[in-house]
């Protein structure tokens, strides 16, 4: 339920980068969000559409790449993928170890933006 402030932050970032690059239109924005994050893709899409309506960002596609949660066992160094939404005890599949380091799954960033630069495209408003 905190998707709105998160999307507002992403929206502001889009505007900042578009302006700095003299872009007149944003085609897409790609995010990398780790599986451990509670952000819901569909709410992010909905809020992004809501916030960008009537601005030059309108129509930009929000691409959300969810990064799987991968952990490494501190005992035997085995790396394995975890389905965090399954609601099960995390355990090393090789040695049954119970302490881990995070390999991936905590990502939380805007990766790239695809923009149109030039004067004869839609006006920025």
């Amino acid at each position: 339920m905190h998707e709105l402030p998160v999307i507002k932050s992403i929206f502001d970032m889009c505007v900042k980068y578009a302006e700095a690059n003299n872009a007149t239109k944003i085609l897409s924005v790609t995010l990398k969000v780790g599986e451990i994050s509670d952000l819901q893709n569909e709410w992010m899409q909905r809020y992004f559409g809501y916030l960008s309506k009537g601005t030059f960002v309108e129509g930009a596609k929000l691409v959300i790449e969810r990064v799987p949660l991968v952990m490494r066992c501190k005992k035997c160094s085995e790396s394995f993928q975890v389905d965090i939404h399954a609601g099960r005890q995390i355990e090393c599949p090789r040695c049954k170890g119970t302490e881990f380091a995070y390999v991936s799954g905590k990502e939380y960033r805007v990766e790239t933006m695809e923009v149109v630069c030039g004067e004869d495209t839609a006006n920025r408003s």
Partner: protein, 225 residues
């Protein structure tokens, strides 16, 4: 037709909040103020634990409290009754505190200087986990009646906390709460987390918690010298 370009952004989502939180930490450090962010679900005993903490530490440290509540001022009145400076932030339906709101709270606590500021975050195990408040340490409460499965359901919260306070241990007999299973679930997510067992009602286990906190505050000051 204009040219299509790919811009490398590689910037953290909520990087504005993170930057402000880092700025708050720097300012607090300059003043020698240790800030603790306390999170939990509603009704787990945040206010009761804060009151116990105040009673134990108020002679040693100057304490201020930032209370976040969606609409009411009930919690802040309880804290103020202990003679403690408290600021009530009404989040107006917001489900979490961010660095901007905490910054307003800290401004409202001025001009007094504090050794310890405790933030009582909005009762919620989801949203507050994503927002850095500028605190030096994050602590959370899980109370016995909530159940031992909470680390499985709200994993992110357990990964961002330095400390877990298992509260209401006086009710252990009434609920099917498997404390070892809970610990195992938490430690799988966060092997560095410290766990304390308390009852804010009876006072059991409060000593270990406040001793840890006092040590953290002193250690923070030592590092500054």
């Amino acid at each position: 037709m204009g040219k299509i370009r790919l811009i490398e952004v590689k910037e953290g989502i909520l990087s504005d909040n993170k930057a402000l939180a880092n700025e708050l930490r720097r300012k607090l450090r300059d003043k020698g103020t240790f800030m603790l962010n306390l999170m939990s679900s509603p009704g787990s005993g945040k206010t009761s634990l804060i009151l116990r903490t105040i009673d134990a530490l108020k002679d040693e440290f100057r304490i201020g409290v930032i209370e976040a509540d969606i609409a009411s001022t009930v919690d802040s009145e309880k804290v103020a009754s202990r003679g403690i400076k408290v600021v009530q932030l009404r989040t107006g339906g917001f489900c979490h505190l961010d660095a901007t709101m905490v910054s307003e709270g800290l401004d409202a606590l001025e001009p007094q200087t504090f050794d310890l500021v405790i933030i009582e975050n909005v009762g919620n195990l989801v949203c507050p986990a994503e927002f850095d408040t500028g605190a030096m340490r994050n602590a959370m409460i899980l109370s016995i009646p909530e159940g031992d499965d909470k680390p499985l359901k709200y994993p992110l919260m357990f990964t961002v906390c330095d400390v877990l306070v298992v509260n209401k241990i006086d009710t252990m007999k009434v609920f099917d709460f498997d404390i070892n299973a809970m610990k195992k679930r938490v430690q799988a997510l966060n092997s560095n987390i410290r766990i304390f067992k308390t009852s804010a009602k009876t006072g059991e286990g409060i000593d270990s918690w406040v001793n840890w906190l006092a040590k953290e505050i002193k250690g923070f000051r030592e590092n500054d010298k």
